[in-house]
Symmetry: C2
């Protein structure tokens, strides 16, 4: 079997800690067994490793997540990178085609797709391993994992299984009678009476099943070809495009804790630390502070409140109300103020427009020891860098210079520049110009070694 870990898109439901560049799975708000802070990605990756599935795992992701994924779980895990963001059907199709045409995985091998933000116990991975036997024993097209509902939720998918026939004693799986997506509470109660399970969003099928579906739909099953057409694929979910039309499906029951940590309400239930970051919680009940800012947060006399602070903004929400955040966020438009990258991270400290209508953006940039910013230039801005910590090598239009704290670097419009950190390097960058966005970067594709060789000659 091959495991595809689906590292899903960005979203505002955990704003201000999630944004268009930081998805909820990267937030370090949980704690592992050693009481170290970890993210959902780090948690599930360590579970995959201890279940022995790591060597068969691929991560389906978008290019915007590559840096942060590698910084959180290392760079040895093979990634299948979507050229643009689509929904789960195109992403799973791309992964299947990649395994088939690039990795030469045989068509009878089972592929299991698992959302990266599944918050489950270790025993969940035993069920995942049993999907292989279930699929071959049952001859079904699709295997799923369901968990007994704890309340008649209106926001999950329900799987209604057939009762075992008289005399049947299959404890591994049951066949699926039907699916119901997000029922109202009344219907959900009925479904629970019928022994329905919540759909955990795990899909297992043979690679051959998936490629036959693609062929039917006239989609290419050759990787480069699918990549080329990728931006024209419909934004449609795997549930809708495949699961609801499947002939035979089986469901395995998982009876331990399964949680969707998609809102501040559910996420804070899993946070044993009530205060992350600087602050004080006083005279308060069931209140959480997650503070990524450098300034202190004081909570006084609060009940059932979550406070989340990041360079993007500040949220104070009654916990049950936090599910409405997505709607409120429609009124907020803002660039991300903090991003983690392969080479380090940056934080926006200040943004203004001066009287000449020139934009001014001040950032604090950290480059990790041994990493470098790519050789690049900007069309519409000049930059001033003040080195504040560490040592590095700076190159400007072919001239190399060793830099350290107190050094000051002027980068005119269209000047090619890069920097490599010898030790962890920090600098304050002041950008002046127009259109001060990440996209005004013209990258000259060279490794640091190539820069040194090419320019030193």
């Amino acid at each position: 079997m091959k495991l595809i870990l689906l590292s899903g898109g960005s979203g505002n439901r955990l704003w201000p800690l999630s944004n268009s560049s930081r998805s909820k799975q990267f937030l370090k708000v949980l704690r592992n067994k050693d009481k170290q802070v970890e993210s959902m990605v780090q948690r599930i990756w360590s579970q995959i490793k201890s279940s022995g599935l790591a060597d068969d795992t691929f991560i389906s992701t978008s290019s915007t997540q590559v840096d942060i994924l590698q910084s959180q779980i290392g760079s040895n895990i093979p990634l299948i990178v979507e050229p643009v963001r689509r929904d789960t059907f195109p992403a799973i199709a791309l992964a299947a085609v990649y395994l088939n045409s690039k990795m030469k995985v045989p068509l009878n091998e089972m592929i299991c797709v698992l959302p990266v933000d599944s918050f489950v116990e270790d025993s969940f991975f035993l069920r995942i391993k049993e999907m292989e036997t279930s699929l071959s024993q049952s001859g079904a097209d699709l295997a799923l994992i369901g968990t007994p509902p704890s309340y008649p939720s209106e926001k999950y998918g329900y799987i209604i299984p057939n009762e075992n026939k008289e005399g049947e004693t299959n404890n591994l799986f049951r066949t699926v009678k039907r699916f119901v997506e997000k029922p109202d509470e009344e219907l959900a109660k009925q479904l629970i009476q019928e022994n329905a399970l919540w759909n955990c969003g795990v899909f297992a099928f043979t690679l051959g099943y998936m490629t036959s579906i693609l062929k039917e739909k006239g989609m290419p099953i050759q990787y480069e070809e699918l990549v080329k057409q990728y931006d024209k694929l419909p934004m449609i979910s795997f549930d809708y495009e495949v699961v609801e039309n499947v002939n035979r499906a089986v469901v395995l029951s998982y009876n331990s804790s399964w949680k969707d940590l998609g809102t501040w309400n559910t996420l804070t239930e899993e946070m044993d630390l009530h205060l992350l970051g600087r602050g004080i919680i006083s005279n308060s009940i069931n209140t959480h502070i997650i503070n990524e800012l450098d300034i202190p947060v004081i909570a006084l006399g609060l009940l059932d409140i979550v406070v989340a602070c990041s360079p993007d903004g500040i949220l104070i929400s009654e916990k049950a109300m936090s599910s409405k955040l997505k709607d409120v966020m429609k009124n907020i438009k803002q660039r991300p103020m903090y991003e983690e990258r392969r080479w380090g991270s940056y934080k926006v400290l200040d943004y203004t427009v001066n009287e000449n209508k020139e934009e001014v953006l001040t950032k604090k940039i950290k480059v990790l020891s041994g990493k470098n910013l790519s050789y690049q230039f900007h069309q519409q801005r000049k930059e001033i860098w003040s080195i504040t910590a560490g040592e590095g090598i700076f190159v400007l239009d072919g001239n190399f210079v060793h830099v350290g704290p107190g050094d000051n670097l002027m980068i005119p419009f269209a000047s090619k520049h890069a920097i490599k950190a010898i030790t962890d390097l920090e600098f304050i960058e002041v950008q002046l110009g127009s259109n001060l966005i990440e996209e005004d970067i013209v990258r000259i594709f060279m490794t640091w070694e190539e820069i040194e060789q090419n320019l030193s000659n």
Copy 2:
């Protein structure tokens, strides 16, 4: 009469908007009749002007408040500046001695002392004017203003007046029977039965009365002499040192609204805007946001909550609980992150310590058009300035240079420097060194004109 406006000390009760450099009276959270945002100082100063008392008004303050006072109400109001912070008795003594020995105010003239954070109706100033007649008619040493209590508060002072004697029809004032400071609720209820009034903190007396008290206590009544001894004066309040020992006092009754805006609870009651700054309040009741940061604040599903954000920190408090803030704040130690000065303002953007144990402080500095930073040097830090907006003249060790956006200025250790804004000027300052505090400034006392003349020769 002379009016002494007592611009009191800093405090944490309105943290994070008040701090050791910004006192609550300077917060621009109220609105005037034209719906313009104003501070308590601006409000009371406009009331003093419209009551015709402006020309007879002096402000008693500390040196730390001079810049912000002048920036908020102009620089024409005479200030009596305490050399160090003491309590109200030394401050009033200094003001009296100043009026006597410097301004030659006659000893029979009435001095009226008024706290700058009195939140009152305009009619309050009619009572202040009537204190002069009351004092002379009654022959009392002290006149006060009292207001009918609205509830048996435990945090105010109470003035218990004598009943008018039979046949007496004095509507202007009554004589004072006794004072009670901060009674418990039971006693407060009794006092209200006795027609007690809350003490509004206004004191009127003749200059001669005050100088005689100082002489009795062996204190100098010559201004320079008192300044010299000022830091040795006891930190004691005027209430305790004078009011409680007075022989004859009268009280004038003021029957309109009087409020102490000293906690977030009472202050927000006077704020008709629920949102100041960037943010959204959704599904919330009786909730206020005061946001001085550049990032948005979202409040969702809150009841009776105040949210206050400044570069110093973030407070989220249930309103009634906000009176406990002072106690909680004892655990927070931090430099002020934002200050308003005579020449403009600064905001701390970032503070770190690098691997060489060198401190790095990044500030955004605004210098108002026509103003300048004093000619100065630093013993323990170098600075890098990146000009981001406006035009100015920069001088470094005697060399003048015209600067504008994109210019970059290096200021080595111990180099003398200053800058003057031609138009409103902004720059990002990166300080590197040790002991990065405001106090590491050696000022060379010269006006900008003197700098230009001395250095151009």
